[in-house]
Symmetry: C2
């Protein structure tokens, strides 16, 4: 049986029984709202975790285990993106959001605003306020049908007191994989304004050919000097609950700052089994990832075909990376939240775009990392609900 | 083979190879400096974690899995300590220190000092400064050979701007298990001064008869109203690297405060497999714990016998709870740090008491949760080093 057939065969009943967040939060609806995969992680990753348990690796995180993850991350960055990073500059953190919070607290000018291209990953919209910081949303522009940075808007926001620009590449929720020239244009502005960049690259392993991930900090010495990069195996190998990610430091001053105990505290919550899983994913999970990417590639095309056939008024452009689909529901004739409409009327639970910032109003965030028959069922249910709605 | 024989048979070579933090940080020395056990966790716990991996529980933490840990914690608190806590008031956090940091930030008067009986668990000494708070150390008193709270000192510190009293019961590093009357005396002072208590009860499962753990918040409605309790399976079942602990809320105002997103953020880093492990520990790890406690009981007595025979000048009182021995090295004729002396001259790595606060100067913190032959070897090596030292 091929991988695609195996994944196709994972039914809703089995997913409900396994009880992931996606399939338990809304027991009446198809779960498509949280960016996790409905497929088991790579066997090599699962085996590594189970072996670590058998070896008794449940105590405090040993240095050698940390180091192995840093080395595996460095190999991955080098082999996959051509970026050479010294392992000693790769630090363990529990998750990307902890990396962001640490960046805001210790690597930006006190009180400076956080500049956020939108629509954005939902917590990016709300976290700055927890640190007493203003979030300045800079909506993305559309050019030739694809989303691009509003460079003038970013420039103005940084000139107007912005201290940190949050980048997300590959872009959650828009699915863009930025080209080197686009990143260079951003870096020029950030450098001119003396600001910092937090580059969330958690989706980097999830890029569809011919697109290629370019690590933002790798594009120039200037970008390396103003950037803190967050990486993780958690999206591509479906490990968010295991709590391990990597911060990549790319200048001496940041390394020195990270050495301070109150900053290095960010490492404290990193879980052993997450570290072991990430190490195995980067080193031994590569073939599995290729198969999974091929399946996801089919999913992003299938969704396009299904929408064109059943809900042609729904706007959709297949993501270049990530397993997140950004759906434009503005022309569907729905009053109020389209997510509420489809959850209650169609039994499909998605994230409302408004949670991604004001620019997301009228949009939906649909997670593609699910068996294809479930995508078909979701689109069918959505189309039926729209038909019922129109018939009233 | 009995459990004791199995545990006795775990040799240093095997521990080095397994590579725990304790046995890898100082490759030349016996590891006795970090509070983790050299024994594998309960088979029921290891099985639960491996089954969760097989079931694909690597995505975001599902509500049902959180709830199961809360229910298991409630059963444990009820069955073990006679304390009835509603499961919905038990919240997941990655670790006790995250609970403390959240308590300081959101449950104490802004800018108020943190009152800390000392010697204390090392991070308690340093964390308040990370929050811009002063730490007021209140050294414990000795009465009839055992450590007791300096009630007048605590009273003065709270009167003098202290907003939070950190309790640790069973007491790391002193090994005290406080009696109800002692806790009542503390509660009366805290209540009179309008302060809060953070009660670290991470060692509660590790109590030797005839001592009994009394949850601080359980002693009176007043104590419940001013306390935030932190519990965990991580010490007793050796799971610190799996990142799960429990905050027990015992008043409506705290429940309301915890519901705020910036407060509930404390839950964010809790790792699925830690939650699964804690659930299994509290529910299915009880027999294993009894056997382990019996072994540790032997260890604390053995250490006393060995010290009396080989290093009679070393002060030691067997802990009533925890697997931490607090050794008084002040009469050994050592200049400078006794931990440095024993690590470099005896090949035994312990924590220097000074890291536990000024009151710890001249003391050592030795972790007892190790095979008995290793305790014997450690004491022998320490006695030899002292003999060499005296002969110079």
């Amino acid at each position: 049986m091929s991988t695609a057939q195996e994944l196709d065969a994972i039914g809703i009943e089995r997913l409900r029984e396994a009880g992931s967040l996606k399939w338990s939060a809304f027991p009446e609806a198809i779960g498509a709202f949280v960016a996790e995969m409905d497929f088991p992680t790579a066997p090599a990753v699962a085996d590594a975790v189970k072996n670590a348990v058998d070896a008794g690796l449940t105590g405090y995180l040993p240095a050698a285990v940390r180091t192995r993850m840093a080395e595996a991350t460095a190999r991955w960055q080098r082999d996959r993106y051509g970026w050479e990073v010294p392992p000693e500059r790769i630090r363990p953190v529990p998750d990307v959001l902890t990396a962001l919070r640490t960046t805001i607290d210790f690597f930006t000018a006190a009180g400076s605003a956080i500049v956020l291209p939108t629509p954005a990953y939902m917590p990016f919209v709300t976290i700055p306020a927890m640190h007493g910081r203003e979030t300045v949303e800079v909506p993305m522009l559309v050019e030739g049908g694809r989303h691009v940075y509003d460079l003038d808007g970013i420039d103005r926001a940084l000139a107007d007191g912005g201290g940190l620009l949050i980048l997300c590449n590959p872009y959650n929720p828009l699915g863009r994989v930025f080209e080197r020239e686009e990143l260079e244009a951003v870096a020029e502005i950030v450098e001119r304004r003396g600001a910092r960049v937090f580059s969330d690259e958690i989706h980097a392993p999830l890029v569809f050919a011919p697109h290629r991930h370019v690590p933002y900090a790798s594009i120039s010495p200037a970008a390396a000097a103003h950037t803190i990069t967050a990486a993780s195996a958690s999206k591509a190998w479906n490990l968010p609950g295991l709590k391990a990610a990597q911060v990549i430091l790319t200048n001496d001053a940041d390394v020195e700052m990270w050495a301070r105990p109150e900053v290095a505290w960010a490492e404290h919550g990193t879980a052993n089994l997450g570290v072991v899983a990430a190490t195995a994913a980067f080193d031994e999970g590569r073939d599995w990832l290729e198969e999974t990417l091929a399946y996801l590639d089919g999913n992003r095309r299938l969704l396009g075909d299904l929408l064109a056939e059943h809900i042609p008024a729904m706007g959709y452009r297949a993501p270049e990376g990530t397993y997140i689909a950004w759906l434009d529901a503005r022309d569907l004739g729905i009053d109020g939240s389209p997510a509420d409409f489809f959850r209650t009327r169609a039994g499909v639970a998605m994230t409302d775009g408004i949670a991604c910032g004001a620019a997301g109003e009228g949009y939906l965030r649909f997670i593609l990392a699910t068996p294809r028959p479930i995508i078909e069922q979701a689109v069918r249910q959505m189309a039926d609900a729209l038909r019922d709605h129109a018939a009233r």
